[in-house]
Each structure stands twice: as structure tokens, then as C-alpha cells.
């Protein structure tokens, strides 16, 4: 008890505490401005709200505990994207020991070669869908992508990041970003076609 009292009266300690509190407020302020983008990335990456929420919270804790290493001259959202992506991949690796999941290998739909998969480019049915149907299809189509393709295309098309920024988030060369974004879009094109085929006939205006 006496020891604790001494701690309280230690001015150096009080200064440290004040500095720490200041960091907390700083972190929350940055989060306020960037949190929505990061949560959206979590939602699109994880595919559902429950997993997105877990992923988001884990990311916040990790980010906070490494906040000292955040370089203020760089965008805070990219820094959080990177942490989130790593948390997601770690979690996946932990879970995927049971399954055979490759993170980057092109996984052609129904085992066909790319060239065969990607014939036909009619996305018109998709454009006629309502917002809700569209959202659902997008989420389903994204879920079918290898995770690193999914990350790349979400960051590019939904979060609006440049290839440079994506390369930093994903810790890979520019050429790899280019290839991941492109392959992701090719697979999505096919997935959209397949998914819109499964809609009820009245939804498929000809």
C-alpha cells in the first residue's frame, strides 16, 4: 500500500501516464477518421459481419499496442490495412491447417483453365440487379477468390488505393499487385456471370 502511494507521487511516472493518455486520444482521433474504411475492408475480406467485427477489434488492439512504431508521415489507413491484412492471414493460416488452402495460387473455378473459364463477357444481367442483390453477389463472388487476390482487388476497387499503396499494404512488388488485381478481376468476371445465372428468371432481363 505504501509502495503504491509512492508511485502516485512520482512526478516522472505521472508524466509518463499523461503522455500515454495523450497517445490514446491521438489514436482514437485517427481511428475516428479512418475506422470506416478499415471496417469496410474487414467486412469485404472476411465476408460477414461477425468475422469482420472480430477481425476489426483484433486489428485495433494490435495497432494500438504498436502505435509507437506508426510513422506519422504515412497514411494511417494504409497502416491499419496492413495490420488487418496480416491479422486476417495469420488467422487463416492457423485455421487452414485442416484444409488445403493456397493463398496465392490461381484457383480456377471448377478446375478449368483460365482461357476456358473466361470466355463470354456478358455482365449485363448484373448491372440490372437491385442494390441488395448486387451487394450479395459481390460478397459471394469475392468469397470465391484466393485471399491475396481478394485483398488486392478490394483495396484497389473498393478502397481506392493506388498500386503503390497496395504494394506497401501487401508487402509485395508492384508487378505482383498488378497481376493480383488483374487475375482477381478476371475471376470475378466469371463469378458474376455464374452467380447472375442462378438468379430467378424474372431477374434476368434479356
Amino acid at each position: 500500500m505504501i509502495e503504491r502511494k509512492e508511485e502516485l507521487l512520482d512526478p516522472k511516472r505521472f508524466q509518463d501516464d499523461a503522455a500515454r493518455s495523450f497517445r490514446q486520444v491521438e489514436f482514437v482521433a485517427l481511428l475516428k477518421n479512418n475506422g470506416d474504411k478499415v471496417y469496410n475492408f474487414a467486412w469485404r475480406l472476411a465476408g460477414n459481419e461477425q468475422d469482420a467485427w472480430d477481425l476489426f477489434q483484433e486489428t485495433l488492439m494490435k495497432a494500438y499496442s504498436h502505435f509507437e512504431s506508426y510513422d506519422q508521415s504515412r497514411p494511417f489507413d494504409s497502416w491499419l490495412f496492413k495490420i488487418l491484412q496480416n491479422v486476417y492471414l495469420d488467422e487463416r493460416r492457423r485455421n487452414s491447417r485442416k484444409t488445403v488452402a493456397s493463398l496465392d495460387a490461381p484457383s480456377p473455378i471448377s478446375g478449368k483453365p483460365w482461357e476456358e473459364i473466361l470466355s463470354g463477357t456478358d455482365l449485363n444481367p448484373l448491372e440490372r440487379l437491385s442494390k441488395e442483390e448486387n451487394a450479395d453477389l459481390v460478397q459471394k463472388a469475392l468469397a470465391g477468390l484466393p485471399p491475396l487476390y481478394r485483398s488486392a482487388v478490394i483495396l484497389c476497387d473498393m478502397e481506392g488505393l493506388s498500386y503503390d499503396a497496395i504494394a506497401e499494404v501487401m508487402d509485395c512488388p508492384l508487378g505482383t499487385v498488378r497481376s493480383r488485381v488483374h487475375q482477381a478481376r478476371l475471376l470475378l468476371k466469371k463469378a458474376f456471370e455464374d452467380l447472375s445465372d442462378t438468379l430467378s428468371p424474372d431477374k434476368q432481363l434479356q
Binding site: R4, T121, N134, Y163
Partner: protein
């Protein structure tokens, strides 16, 4: 139509404004005389548009409760979590931490109440525990599932 032209690998980069110099010139020249690559470019443009227009989600307001709670739990000397090491062992620290974060968070809620409807927190309640009993983050029991086939 799917093109087998090697130029096609650069179509997405062109679409994203990420192709420069000779590569860009070469691809544009190729496009002017290759209908199949032009079709492919249009298809990719549609995919990009569909993604860009897809709805977005904002972070649920629960974070304003769970995040300070998690920080406090992580800072608590009673817990032996590895995270606790980041924080001081004194009981004073968690108290300050919680106070500072709660203050910042409440200030933010106050500021943004008008343009931040509570619908996300409601929709989240449907899938997670009620907000009053959301437990502090526990990384060991994360239930993230693999949704990818």
C-alpha cells in the same frame, strides 16, 4: 471472348491508370487494332464499376464500448495476457487509459450523433452478443472462420 494476347495482362493496369510510358503506348496501339482485347477491357471496366458501386459498411458504434474495455482489460495487472506487458502494472494506468479513451470516444459520439445513425450497431447486435455484455477482446478465442472454399 477471351484473348490470348500477352498484352491483355496489362489491361487492368491501363484501366487503373497505372500503366505508363512505352507499355501504355504499346497497349493502346494494340487495342486500336484488336477487338478481343477491347472487349476484354470493357468487361474488366464493368467488374471494376460493380465493385466500386457496391455498398460500404461503417464501423459499428460498439467499438466505442469494446475498445476502451479491451484496453482496460489488457492493462489490468490481474490479467496475464502478453498484451498487458505493453501497459504499466499500476492500477492508475488503466484508470487513466479508460478515462482518456472514454472521453475521446464520447466526444466523438456527441459530435457525430446527427450524421451517424445507429443502424450498424443494431444490425451487429443480431449476430453478436448484446452490447452491454460484449466481452473484452480475447485473441485466443477469435472465431474467425474461413469462408473461402
Amino acid at each position: 471472348m477471351t484473348t490470348e494476347h500477352e498484352e491483355a495482362a496489362f489491361l487492368s493496369a491501363l484501366l487503373d491508370g497505372e500503366l505508363e510510358g512505352p507499355e501504355r503506348v504499346r497497349l493502346q496501339k494494340h487495342l486500336s487494332s484488336c477487338p478481343s482485347c477491347s472487349l476484354e477491357l470493357e468487361a474488366l471496366r464493368k467488374v471494376k464499376m460493380v465493385l466500386a458501386k457496391a455498398p460500404k459498411k461503417s464501423m459499428p458504434l460498439e467499438w466505442t464500448q469494446t475498445f476502451p474495455q479491451a484496453l482496460t482489460a489488457a492493462a489490468s495487472p490481474r490479467k496475464t495476457s502478453s498484451r498487458a506487458r505493453v501497459f504499466s502494472q499500476s492500477w492508475l494506468i488503466p484508470a487513466l487509459v479508460a478515462a482518456a479513451v472514454s472521453f475521446a470516444v464520447s466526444f466523438w459520439i456527441f459530435q457525430s450523433r446527427e450524421n451517424f445513425p445507429l443502424r450498424h450497431s443494431l444490425s451487429l447486435n443480431a449476430v453478436s452478443a448484446p452490447s452491454t455484455t460484449v466481452s473484452p477482446l480475447n485473441p485466443g478465442s477469435s472465431q474467425t472462420q474461413d469462408n473461402t472454399p
